[in-house]
Symmetry: C2
Subunit: 335 residues, 2 copies
């Protein structure tokens, strides 16, 4: 095999006129060496553009300074900010990230897991769009795992999830602040965890203020089309409402379109809140949407920090909710 001749510590030692052991110590600040020896070695290393071979280092240290990131469903809109956030703090911790896309296929997931363990990663982050919980990864041979966005069903595992109840409260409180009292809910499929959690939290928060929604929550797809239909239903029922809490930005955008076409002004007649703060949708909407931002990038960072800590031997089992924030735009407050 034609090995690209990179400088080795031998070369550095030779150039500096010391033994490899001394060179190693000089470069790693171990042992006690004369200052000028250290300087000489450093200079030699610079001159040769020496970078220690990570394979050799790993072989000795038993660590790879690498973590695996495995997205159970295909990498998508939700995983990306998570990836970015995690990659960011892991990189700061000198860790590199191996990316695995399981495409919603348990077999692929299993293969990727084997690959990662085979590569002796120091830790694993599991993400995915699927709401709620998922079964924990099969045997990970003592390698620390953190679940991000979705939670492991085992409470012994460490999971970081968006605080969806807190998020729903943010939306309700904001609508109350801008004077709305007759609030409707149009959200995603009834069987969908996020849809249920969000609408339950919304209702609960309303109740705390002595209110209830003008109709039971309307469930449908996570689509603009359903947003249009849902609001169409509300209009058809001649329900009196001055705000709609929507389960996603897409639903909210559909709602905005239908309201406008029906001659209702947003936000003067009806205020709208979205969810996800997905810029493409929220900003293109007429008017732009007030929306809940789950801070997925921050969530990814949080997950990475917990993983780093776990790798250092300090695990944090349990489910850790990550706070959301409200981004206010014209769909609730007149420009």
């Amino acid at each position: 095999m034609h090995r690209p001749r990179t400088a080795t510590i031998r070369d550095v030692a030779a150039l500096a006129g010391v033994s490899v052991g001394t060179a190693s110590k000089a470069l790693n600040g171990r042992g006690s060496l004369r200052a000028d020896t250290i300087a000489r070695v450093r200079q030699a290393a610079d001159q040769l553009d020496f970078h220690p071979n990570p394979a050799a280092r790993s072989l000795h240290a038993g660590r790879t300074y690498t973590v695996g990131m495995i997205t159970t469903d295909t990498i998508g809109r939700f995983s990306i900010p998570l990836l970015i956030g995690a990659e960011d703090t892991l990189g700061a911790g000198q860790m590199s990230v191996l990316l695995c896309d399981a495409r919603d296929d348990p077999i692929r997931e299993q293969q990727h897991l084997r690959t990662l363990l085979g590569r002796r990663v120091d830790g694993i982050i599991v993400t995915g769009r699927r709401a709620g919980t998922r079964p924990p990864l099969a045997a990970t041979a003592g390698v620390p795992v953190v679940y991000a966005f979705l939670a492991s069903s085992s409470p012994d595992d460490c999971s970081v999830v968006p605080d969806e109840t807190g998020a729903a409260r943010l939306a309700v409180d904001h609508l109350l602040t801008v004077g709305r009292r007759r609030i409707a809910v149009v959200t995603g499929p009834a069987h969908h965890h996020s849809a249920r959690v969000r609408s339950a939290a919304t209702i609960e928060r309303l109740a705390e203020h002595g209110l209830e929604p003008v109709t039971p929550p309307l469930h449908g797809e996570w689509s603009e089309s359903w947003g249009r239909q849902g609001v169409g239903l509300l209009l058809g029922r001649r329900a009196a409402f001055d705000a709609v809490v929507c389960g996603s930005d897409q639903i909210a955008r559909g709602a905005a379109d239908t309201l406008r076409e029906a001659g209702r002004r947003v936000p003067q007649d009806v205020a709208l809140t979205g969810f996800d703060n997905w810029d493409v949708i929220a900003l293109a909407s007429r008017p732009p949407l007030t929306s809940i931002d789950m801070d997925l990038e921050g969530l990814g960072r949080a997950a990475a920090e917990l993983l780093l800590r776990a790798i250092e031997g300090d695990p944090s089992p349990g489910v850790h909710p990550h706070p959301a924030k409200l981004v206010i735009r014209d769909s609730t407050v007149q420009a």
Copy 2:
């Protein structure tokens, strides 16, 4: 350091009652061994769930079976399918992918490059949204590099890019097929490479059919808002047009909204083509958009294949265009 006691080849050899050398040969199919010896070793390996330590293997082979993927702008809508495609074929080639997000920052890019080279990756894929060309990566110490989506400005490098001219032709030919002759172009910023290439190719193709656009191409943002404005301009000028080639799905969707609100039927009165086939936009549009799909996932796969080949010592310098395809929906053909 507390090393997780994974089985080593020594353990396997001991259990099988052979020497490590023999065990190695048995597991790698080298040399010539008795069938039952091989079987015994295999069984021992299975029993101990033995996986060769990749650090040791790398140390010996001088390869890491790892490639770096570095996205120059932040990971986004365009990079993801590329990532997925590349990860897919690299994984099939036993390669893992180290992900680096440079966030449009040359300094971060440089750091990531150093990290990747420091980790001795076998190859690098560079992607990014920025259109057109980019300066080649600084010294890569002989590590093969493939540029995907954007091209390196050096012709000695290997780049895989979408065939945007071919793509524009697909759109024009389709519009002609459905009987349109008075075609307008509304696209992105004039300084943007894709916008220029796409509209130039559109005009050229029209010319080959003895036609020209009803007005010079209209340039603006890559946004729905500009799509609405652009079509507003066309309507205001009382230009007679029966089709609009839009530079992106967002522009096309904006165009569709304005046309509908102006009482023009899509596609009966005006046909629309989008670009990117971004489902969230193209499907939510009323009507759903006929759009050009650059097959980014396939492009990522192609890039990965070229990289694998380059790693094997068979580089393919030059710019390799990757064909696009047309996805026909209701904005050009009545449902």
